[in-house]
Amino acid sequence: MKKRVLAGFFLSLSLMLSACSGGGGTAAPADPAKPQEGQAAAAKTELVVAAEQEPVGYDPHKVPAASSVRVYALIYDSLTKLDENMNIIPNLAEKWEVAPDGKTITMFLHKGVKFHNGKDMTADDVKFTFERIMNPDTGSIAKSYFSSVESIEVKDPTTVVFKLKNADAAFIANTASAYASIVPSGSTDLTKEAIGTGPFKMEKAEPGQYVLLKKNPDYFNKDVPKVETIKFQIMKDEAERLAAIRSGKIDISVVSADSAKLLEGKPGVQVKNYQSLEYSYLGINVNKKPFDNPKVREAISYAVDRNQIVQTVWKGEAALTGPIAPAITNWAVDTATYPTYKTDVEKAKQLLAEAGFPNGFDTQIETAATYPDMVETAQVIQQQLKAIGINAKINQLEWGNYIEVWKSKDMNLMVGRNTSGVDADRSMRFFFSTTGSANVWNYSNPAYDELVAKALATVDQAERKKLYEQAQTMLVADAPNLFLASPKNYYAVRDNIDFTPTAAGEVYSLIKTAIK
């Protein structure tokens, strides 16, 4: 009875709606940006991507927010980029040479590349870009990527030479970052206009509604892009995104693992996933009592069942991870080699007793209320720690507040998520060396520092890999963080869209996306 009433209500509403849309209830993908004047529905040339967050600006050197990167990385190019196997491939630089001592890197630029305003892209623009990134007033987070740069020389319009203070094996990988996008020399305020060399041009940004990008017909790679326009439609609510993708209003949307399950087998939509570069962690402040005692940290590491986190929080759709996410196959270590990954409650209790806490203790886990997975991870860990007598109170913080606590270096335990950099250096030095910017755990181990510094200065990649394996093993044993799970990311894609997401990032896939 109730169902009939409800159906009747929807029926009358939809009749009313279709009456005023002058046709059937199904919506043809109209293109409001280009009203089609009286012609029959032309072939679809616009790709509509749901943006779950509104971009907060398009200056690649100032705005690290993912909501902005996914847009400006289509407008700008960097010197190098990554393929789906995490290998560095040419982009604006068609090749490069590293001197035997690793201190001179010569980049040879693609000829005939033009900015969207018609100006040629030359070595001067590259020099200007890197100087802008390195200027402290810019406030670029990529500044720390290029701290080894001593000077930049323009040899000729298509050759640029980077002189380094010390050998820096991560340098080339860091030039693949969207934060190192090449901008026209002389740019001052990139918030006003975005002029890059990329496959798409900024056409229109309607705050709160959408960002429209138009194909760059002069893009230096003639094979791409394959669509005329890309529209990032701002839709902050997951339920709305699901309804929109099912009714064909949008073509591509990021969805949660739960929604992915709901969409499985629904007509018109495919769900695609890939192993992300992110991993979740439990951060431990090694300055705070009792966590300054390595035995306590080891006990926690034995007590936490990482597999249970994979099953409960990520419904099995995540991989165990060490300090470097498993998707980065070149650097990650097989987690089976870590002894503490085999949960052992008895051993954990014994270690706690040896450390002087036979009855456990009380503590607190900070987590971000904004991200349900972080809250759930904290809850699972809370239960697991209870088994060895540690009573942890969970503190759910709003994101801005969470960042403050993270910065304070004064937390006890904290659940969070990191993204592994493409090069091992970032995951290792930035997060855990004594002077690392993101080392908020007060972890300081001279042996570790020496190891990662040596790895950074080692040009021979096989040798480097060995050093990083040692460093990862050391980190897991010292446990300033427990590395938990690296989830899969999900996309819902309409059937007629040829889009394959990979760990190389959304932009890499969007450039090649075609409408069937």
């Binding site: 690290p64 987070i141 500044k143 403050e404």
Partner: protein
């Protein structure tokens, strides 16, 4: 009347000044700042410092306040610390969207509430009354995000109908705008209706017991004449009061409805500003909403004098 208006408008100044101090203080007391939120856990201390400098957040708080309020007095709302865009044009643009949504939602709400409210008052304790009261209780109890989500999913799954994703104004394209706003307006309208309906019912119940209604009946007037001609105007003060308050709230942006249906209204703008700690956006936005709220209240007070000539200012 004229002097009353001048007094009322003059009293706006201390109110708005107080609100400006309050908003500024609360906002800056909240932990988190725009630079570290923007940089997240990738932040380096020097990047934060550079951003603070470019956002003007390295100044002492009192300097920041006077700098902002000084600009406001000249009608300069400043720029967003994140996007660098002018705030005032954004506020006006989004307010107009919220205004359309509110008017539409309130009209739907009233169209439901007033006739049914009257009906349930003049047939108190009948079956009709019970049904209306239960419906009202549902309207008040079911949260609007649940109603909105059900509408959206129900229509898109069973009828493959989804509202247009680009928001247009009624004066640009009324048909398209109707399609854009109908679902959020119905969602809003249901909540509005529930409140107005209860008030209408109780106001009418009270009026229908009055002596003058008995006199009107004794003269042999029909029920219809009594309700419309005698009871309606005498019951409308409390109805107008609650309606005015609702409009005031809704014009501040019905945040949940705007978020759910991706309507780029004022509420969504301020909410996003709060998340990002975009101080000038939130300060300017809240002050604007406060001004609107106070003006709506003033308008309601003026409507009283028209409803009931005995009210004099």
């Amino acid at each position: 009347m004229g002097s009353y208006l001048i007094k009322r408008v003059a009293s706006l100044i201390p109110i708005l000044f107080g609100i400006s101090v309050l908003v500024f203080t609360i906002l800056h007391l909240v932990p988190g700042d725009p630079a570290s939120i923007m940089l997240g856990t990738n932040a380096t201390p020097e990047a934060i410092a550079a951003l603070h400098k470019s956002m003007g957040l390295d100044q002492p708080l009192i300097t920041q306040y006077f700098h902002w309020i000084g600009g406001m007095l000249q009608g300069n709302f400043g720029v967003s610390v994140h996007s660098g865009e002018e705030i005032l044009p954004q506020i006006i643009k989004r307010f107009l969207i919220t205004l359309q949504l509110t008017v539409f939602g309130v009209l739907i709400g009233w169209a439901l509430a007033i006739p049914f409210g009257i009906l349930s008052a003049i047939r108190a304790h009948s079956k009709t009354d019970i049904i209306v009261r239960v419906a009202t209780l549902l309207g008040i109890s079911v949260p609007n995000f649940a109603i909105g989500t059900l509408l959206l999913l129900g229509l898109s799954l069973y009828f493959n109908w989804f509202p247009p994703i680009d928001v247009v104004s009624f004066w640009e394209n009324p048909v398209e705008a109707f399609k854009v706003f109908i679902l959020p307006a119905v969602t809003m309208g249901i909540v509005v209706a529930a409140g107005v309906m209860r008030m209408t019912r109780s106001a009418f119940l009270e009026t229908m017991d009055k002596d003058f209604i008995r006199t009107a009946r004794a003269k042999g007037n029909s029920q219809w004449t009594i309700v419309i001609g005698h009871a309606f105007r005498n019951s409308s003060i409390p109805i107008v009061t609650i309606a005015g308050m609702q409009i005031g709230y809704l014009l501040g942006g019905s945040v949940i409805v705007e978020q759910l249906f991706s309507i780029p209204g004022l509420g969504q703008y301020i909410l996003e500003g709060i998340y990002q700690r975009d101080y000038p956006v939130v300060q300017g936005g809240v002050l604007f909403v406060a001004l609107v709220f106070v003006l709506v209240n003033l308008l309601i007070d003026l409507i009283y004098t028209w409803i009931d000539p005995r009210i004099k200012y």
